[in-house]
Amino acid sequence: MEKRVVFRSRWLPYVLLAPQLAVTLIFFFWPAGQALLQSMLQQDPFGINVEFVGFDNFRHLFSDELYLASFRVTAVFSVLVAGFGLTISLLLAVFADRALRGAGLYKTLLIWPYAVAHAVAAVLWLFLFNPTLGIVAHWIKGYGIAWDPLLNGGDALTLVVVAAVWNQISYNFLFFLAGLQSIPKSLIEAAAIDGAGPGRRFWTIVFPLLSPTTFFLLVVNIVYAFFNTFAIIDAATGGGPGQATEILVYKVYKDGFKALDLGSSAAQSVVLMIIVIGLTVMQFKWIERKVQY
């Protein structure tokens, strides 16, 4: 039986929709439209000389090898952050899901890092890994490994990946734990009776049943790595050394707000917008089909 609500009044549905529409228009379509417009303009910072240049900003961007390098950095960075973030938190969730003494305490502690602001997390890790002050840097050096995130791009990337993953693990952990707890115990017990070991039970029952959660978290983590890690990069490395940790969203900020090149910055944010639209479409079209809900 289908329930249908019919509005008697003509304008009531529009009034009810209006707040949501207004929010979407003002906070999404308007800025996006501004970005599109500005990406076609070249102007001085104060907006006194404004010139329409068509796709010049984009042409300039894609002929800039450093912009292309920033793509590679972003790709490496987000794969590492999403990969490590999901793996580690799944592992932790599986362990915490077992009936252990004090499991509640573990769970609480594991959720804590999410309460730490990104910039604060970055500074914490920066202190730990600071070549002169950091205790972790001291240990690393004790093993005879050279460590200098100020000059070595690989080290700097490691640092921001560690901070970004650490900050995100709690979030992933919560979702994985909830996902694990919603898996019927009877299925696992049945498999155990049939003689499946813990590894086999995990891969053939738990992991497939967890796939909607995993898929959701994959999307969230990639978006996180693309956009929300800005504060971590800004506080820990500022995009350096060289441009080793300059991800796309950081470059938008740097070119727009520090270099005051609004045309190029707007063009870059349009490119980012296209990437996000593309990623979302791709993930829902292709990957979602293979996910069992």
């Binding site: 070249q42 102007q43 001085d44 910072p45 104060f46 907006g47 006194i48 000389n49 010139e51 300039h60 450093l66 002169t132 100020l150 000059l151 070595n152 791009g153 500022g238 350096g240 050394p241 060289g242 441009q243 740097k254 070119d255 707000f257 520090k258 270099a259 005051l260 090149d261």
Partner: protein, 439 residues
Amino acid sequence: MSRRFVRVALLVALFGASAAAQAQTEIQWWHSMTGALNDRVNEFAKGFNESQKDYKVVPVYKGAYPESMAAAIAAFRAGNAPHILQVFEVGTATMMSAKGAIKPVSDVLREGGFKFDPKAFIGPVSGYYTNRKGEMLSFPFNSSTTVFYYNKDVFEKAGLDPNRAPTTWPEVVQAAAKIKASGASQCAYTTGWPSWVHVENLSAWHNVPIGTRENGMAGLDTRFQINSPLHVRHWNNLKEWSQKGYFTYAGRRNEAEAKFYSGECAMLTSSSAAQANINRNAKFKYAVAMLPYYADVAGAPQNSIIGGASLWVMSGKKPAEYKGVAQFLNFLMDPNRQAQWHQTTGYVPISPAAYEITKKSGFYEKNPGTDVSVRQLMLNPPTANSKGLRFGSFVQIRDIFEEEMENMLAGKQDAKAALDNAVRRGDELLVRFEKSAKE
């Protein structure tokens, strides 16, 4: 009845008070001074507000230099820019080409009925903020330059003469080698502001151009020349010293200063304004000296160039407000105030008068090293290579220079390649700026 009367009376009183407050013209001053410097800024505003009744200067901290500049630009576009904005020296070219957004301070002061003589400021300072037509566009406020600091205790431990500062780069390296060999400190030499010290001041100090067209001061069609033999030689040395452990790279801003005052590094090149902080934190004896140079370069040492910031007056305000701005700037012109600012902050005295006052007061004898910066700035009459620089997009370009230096120190490229890349990438931005800015 009586209660009602009290209420009405209160309302009237409130109204009267707010009317009186409205009669006072407010002048917004956006700045980037923190800590003790912020206190000094507030003192200036308070002193001015108490000295007269018509205007009220309201100083507002708007974040670090790039942030306050971005905030002011956004405010200008929205039609509510501050009256006075403090802009760091590398933003000078951007502000100068923003015709229509700013009002030259020389005009502001003249229209306000004050005499304004750019010669009241020391040459390297006034030249930096004067355009090609000879108009002084902004008001010098806090100027500094780069100097050399060394830890006397470490020098003594390493068997060096603590009363003799190394004057040339080869001497610095000798000292570094001795410090390193004796283990007197963990790190021998480090630097703050890599581009300001090892590109901009290196050039001026050796009377070598940074860019064509008098370092950009004679025209927007300037291009970089920092891949000269001197630059390559010096950067190559930095690379070699870094590999040998004589030089430790600390970061693009003033991170190195903490490495010095914590005792970790024995020698430092950084802003002269770091002295206040070093004084407060260092638990050892130290001395300030002029920047090292290469003795075989003809004309070295010349004079160093300034950093710091100046005050810009934004356009589109009411005439009455400009009158107040003029009065306030005139208030800041007072040599006694400038001398006090210099003595309490470590910024250089921006006028010869302030320098003389400080000298006569015996301040330099009591605080040795505080006059190094101003002596270094006035060592010789500035040349086309040493009077300053004016490059568009220079905030971004400094980042480029530093990125290339980092890539060189990380062993990815040699000095020549690093500087060639710096020139190529810098020039691209200069071309772009030339197109967008019509002076």
